[in-house]
Point group: D2
Chain length 472, copies 4
């Protein structure tokens, strides 16, 4: 993930659920820690013991909010759900931190959600008209109110009732006094996996790396449109939606998911390496050294280097101590072109023809700074290879992208982009190359089509609120 | 740098000094940010404008203490010194955060110091007897009192007077109303470099990466035993000590310095790669994949892989969001063998013979956890290669190592260590291999001898206080 | 008000509303400061300018929450309402701090409320059943949901609709984008006054002392059951309830209201003095000195002293620096019988026959401590006179009293109480004496009957939820 | 004490010492709480158990700093000293909070001090010249350094050595590992009393009210110039200075000390009442009501009322919730003449000729506001009577008064002051009247002369640093 905030897409959330394991909140916190890359602004956990619910939420990293063992001790019980959030700043933020919790006629329910509803505003207006009072600006609360007013008698039925009314991309976990439920949207845009804890009990999580950290065994992906119910009788499943071909988010492969996660049964790390291989086949260039923009560019650069038989070097060093806050540079410092997150490793750049490999270009400002830095370190040529197609369209399914006019690729040709960024050459992986790397013949004949709307504008879920979409 | 606190040596400090540049405190903060790897517990800056001194200190990362532009705005002036600190915890900590500042007869003086004095306790007792009142438990305050009671009339002379009384390894920067002074101990154990700011003014810093971030040009290392005085007339230099052969800390190459820094005119990154090459020559092993323990093991592993013609893979993924605090694992969680900082990348480990390359083994507990994790991910064989000789002796020159009895290599043979750590084979770089990688024939004939006392117990500076050394 | 928490009744709230005055939030904060005696646990203000609403809430005194002028600067606009709260402790508190704010179909509405609903739980259950989601545990939120689901089209009509469904004692202020509304319950148990700001604009407040501090002119009490609407066309009034005889809380005279406030057109200070006069007539005793328990006992003691021609002395000194927190005494300190809030003025107690005058006895523990302290200071006799009848029943109308079994007067005769408290004699004002002091012939023939249920159990509003009343 | 900061003199400190009592720190905290009126800005305690010293200091009230029982639990031991401080604001404050602690050759020493040294700057310059490094800007640190460099071998001898070098008004308590020492300056300007704890052990405190709160028995005043040493052998005493007539601060009677304290064997409350009696004799006026400016004016007003046979009424109500911070009034609010601490009780002022009784006039701004408020409440005449002579000169002995040019009485006649303040008449107690009230024939023939320099400019201790006195 690269440097400056809002120059990159940010996944808005990671979710976990634990059922039937002593110390569930501690396990949930570890799972959230493993999913920290999916949201760094806030974290929350709701647990349940035999008698009641407990919750703790806070701004900051999981380790900030749950860093003290006493924080976990105040969340007793064998069941818990948790949530990491990327969110806007401001005084009203805390009320948006998930999981949301509400008392219903039949008891309490906690809900956490990764994704975005495309008809959230429309539904919200209808709910407010009916007399519902919203406390947050999150899509999740739409779910909660739909559940509250549903006339069905069980949480499961009410959740299905709610899910049939919403449109969008989402993975939801819910906890009531008896049951942990996981639900993936009909197209399966956002990921959700099921695991089994070593000493009994079950786990749901956005990615397998969250299972890994607590030693849980990966069982399977929750399937697109599947609702999984975990209670004393074990795991049962139902499919409330009519069958549709799935459209998993291809950006999970390119950038979002952790390289050690498995998505759709495939290693993210290996997928990225293979994209690098395809990229090298499609866009070779004579050079002395292949340098990744760390950390997300590393595997692609390794694949590119291997395929092109050129040396792979860590020519850019990442400063790991960049937190959420730092000196907002004064004009003087800004003028210096300070790079807080990256520095150039002169010893492998000076006098070299350098190929930089990165995962995407959003606004282009970060890329420009990095290229300048590499040239200042003495590179004689700088070429850039991008392991995704040009990002031309915003995401409406849970990723915080700038509006279309701010996307460099939306308004510039590749040649123009090369000039803006200051490189000698620029190339993106092709659609077909990308699909080949993921083991398909090409995009059009892919056995499994992805959601790649940010490249293609082929939006698989209707954009009901588009004109006024909620950004919360 | 690897995971658990106190399993690894920690450099205690980074220092910077700025002279003659508007916004000096902002530049100092950036420099400290680049030196964050040398100390993460606290940070402080003292600045001076035409009329007075200003200071700000706090616990935490540089970005925590100086994250708000207003923090910097309250430190006006063209001159500043700053300090990063690794330190013990506790309520009394803040008074130990440097720079220390004192009012003297002739005006104010701020002092920041990286290293350790080996006669600090002895001097302190004598000073207290004389009526000096200590406010901190730092070695730096010994310097300050020695300066205060010196009968010489200038800061420079008083600093020399003080330096002649102390023994140890140190790089010191001082700021009075007119002058920025840098001083390196006679053997040059700790690093200190001089740079020139692009728009005028001078900079001192522990490493070149701090020059880099503010666009300062590297001028030269401050030499062992050299005192550099920067004032309106420019940079002047003197050598108050009699000539001795220098003994630079070899661990700065192996682990401490940032890979993109240059020390003694040599790239740290390239030195580490070359150590990996030598290690592969000395201790080859049939294997399928070479895997670094990130991040410090990466260049050595690349060198090892290149020399051994085996594939280099990122088989261990580092979680970048591990801060200073996190869930102190409950027994339940500890039982899971949770690894907060690292996770296994199954896709490159399963079914493979793996060579792990790391920089050192201190207590062995972290290594054991990593090996277990790699085996759990399906590695069929695990071999470990270490890019330093066995760490058998504590450091008394500014690095926080455990006492000798806790150093695994002090009490175990290499074969025994392999068993403790759970590897199929274990090898360390030899003394001569290490010196060869640094361009010497071998250790005994090195044109330039290092301080390698942690491996050899050849302590180049007398350990006056040894029995009761201060750990502050 | 006497010392230890929960030994005394606490008024739960004070409210203010400002309409049509620049800097409304600042005026509201001053008004809340003047009403601080009505609630010290939390404070909140919602303001509105031409375009939107702003809010700030926090735990602590008004000066803690709004102590920085920037806090007020972030609450722009000409209209504001504010609230002081007494509340239970705990992490979930903040969501209970008023004013509550909600977005409705027709816009935003802020609501603040002083009092207690006696059918809040019953209504809440019905609302939850309907699908309403509660965020707080306050009665106020019942109002808010009733307004949200009302089918009427204006805030005023919806508020009336809601008010007709609730039972209890309350004074409510509401602010929407155009209007400030004040509403007093049909019996007028809780106070609410209307004032006119010097430079234009209107003010509502629980007591006249809040008008005083901002220089507003007292216009009149809002009448029992009256709804006052303030907007651009001025102040209009309506009476949505059928006429009933009012039942103002007599404890407002005895203890709650500030002595410089006017309630029902009568000075609280003078009323208390007159109660002291009646008490002296009813229960004279030979003594040397009349000593108030400060501060609430001062006027009654002055009246008692004047009537009995005995000297009035400040024999008990109050420590004004007792905040919300202090050393929870260790056993050792508790054993000392430490009195944090009061100390004895030996010079007027030693060797004297002392009459202590206080406003009420709740549990008796504080009285006992004070009596012990006065005896320890050398008093030869200690008599106690109480300016209210015995408190035998809990309040369900907005005052936090202990349950009946904890009220000393509920389980002890006056003679037994005297023994428990350790006094030589004890007397309470009679019902008729109390009414006489308030200018009535006696209780049964009072032209104006008070709510005196805490003394008489004559509860004027039906206790619908009684078995499980909400304590929030 | 009246309202706005810096309009009034503020005593800078209160001190306590406990020796030989389990839970000493808890007792010290209670003592400091009772002395809170002497300093509200910061508080600190140092305790000692058999083996070491513990300290805790913080900004705010005693209850803020020591409000949590765990704070006290971290200060174990049978001995403790504590300090309340009034101090200037700012980031560097904490280092000035007392007790100061230092390690000496012979062990640790904690020192707390109430008062002011008149040669502190002179001594400080000499000490800095010698090489002493100051950490604070307090006079107390001068004591500490003088003790540190003394060549005597015991703390007692070193303290005497230091005391002989300082000039000023002070009461000092010191704690080393064996001994609690109390010392009063030769003229006894500041108070210090000795008490005996009920269950054994000894106590020193600025006022008797601190003994009272922990149930300690008053033994006697520490005498002017007396040094009291408390250790295992009991209490011993010595008089290191040559005999001088004492000069106790008369303002302790008038304003500073708590009314329930005894100073010089006389009740402060009764002294104030008697001043009121004398004032009524000297300056009678036809009026309807005598009204104190609370709280310090209450006893004098009672005395005045009794002597003049006019009714005493609480015509001004104090708001007890004014803390250290509040809305710094905006211009708009300032224009309203807002009185945060006081409000008028209309019912006793309207239509009345009012005599206000207050303790002093410093700048006059507060008096003016109060007079305006009383007139606005309808008073037909307002007269002011002051229970001290005109304050014409600053205090250099530990009370924070404005410089002479800001003292209204220094630049205005009484008639002019009356105009400034807006009263119909103004009178101050005469010197002789004041001395008469304290049982002397008159000032010139007083058996015991007070320090009354703020009225008379008869400064009894040489003002060595006067030109540049330290304000810390």
């Amino acid at each position: 993930m690269q440097a400056e905030p809002s120059n990159r897409p940010y996944e808005e959330c990671g979710v976990v659920g634990i059922w039937g394991a002593p110390g569930a909140a501690g396990l949930a916190a570890l799972g959230l820690h493993a999913l920290q890359h999916r949201g760094q602004e806030a974290a929350g956990i709701v647990s349940h013991d035999e008698s009641r619910f407990y919750q703790r939420k806070g701004l900051g990293l999981v380790g900030d909010v749950f860093g003290d063992p006493r924080d976990i001790a105040q969340l007793p019980g064998d069941c818990a759900i948790g949530h990491n959030r990327y969110a806007t700043t401001g005084a009203t933020l805390l009320r948006n931190v998930q999981p949301l919790f509400a008392d219903f006629e039949f008891g309490g329910l906690a809900v956490a959600h990764n994704g975005n509803l495309t008809n959230a505003q429309t539904l919200r207006q209808a709910l407010v008209k009916r007399g519902c009072i919203f406390q947050s600006t999150t899509d999740t609360e739409v779910f909660v109110h739909l559940i509250a007013i549903s006339l069905y008698s069980t949480v499961k039925e009410r959740l299905i009732d709610a899910a049939k009314q919403v449109k969008g991309a989402y993975s939801v976990v819910c906890l009531d006094q008896d049951t942990l439920i996981g639900l993936r949207d009909p197209l399966g845009v956002r990921p959700l996996v099921l695991g089994k804890l070593a000493e009994g009990g079950w786990m749901l999580a956005s990615e397998t790396c969250a299972l890994e950290i607590v030693g849980a065994e990966f069982v399977r992906d929750v399937e697109p449109g599947e609702l999984v119910v975990i209670d004393k009788s074990g795991v049962t499943s139902c499919r409330p939606f009519k069958n549709t071909a799935s459209r998993f988010c291809v950006f999970e492969y390119i950038y979002f998911s952790r390289p050690d996660s498995q998505v759709e049964g495939r290693s993210v790390y290996q997928a990225r390496k293979q994209i690098g291989v395809e990229l090298a086949k499609e866009s070779p260039i004579p050079a002395d050294v292949i340098v990744p923009v760390p950390d997300s560019g590393v595997p692609s650069a390794m694949g590119y280097a291997a395929e092109s038989k050129l040396p792979f070097e860590m020519g850019i060093i990442r400063n790991h101590y960049v937190g959420r806050t730092f000196i907002e540079p004064t004009d003087q410092i800004r003028h210096l072109g300070v790079r807080m997150k990256h520095s150039a490793n002169h010893s492998v750049l000076a006098g070299k023809r350098v190929v930089l490999v990165d995962d995407s270009i959003v606004r282009g400002t970060t890329s420009r700074k990095i290229v300048d830095m590499v040239r200042a370190a003495g590179a004689t040529e700088v070429h850039m290879r991008i392991s995704s197609p040009p990002t031309k369209h915003p995401c409406f399914y849970g990723i915080d992208t700038p509006e279309e006019s701010k996307l460099l690729a939306a308004t510039h040709s590749v040649e123009e982009m090369a000039k803006v960024i200051g490189v000698d050459s620029l190339a993106f992986i092709s659609f077909d190359g990308l699909y080949r790397a993921l083991n398909h013949v090409n995009r059009s004949e892919a056995s499994h089509r992805y959601c790649d709307a940010c490249f293609t504008s082929d939006y698989p879920v209707e954009l009901v609120d588009r004109e006024g979409r909620l950004i919360a």
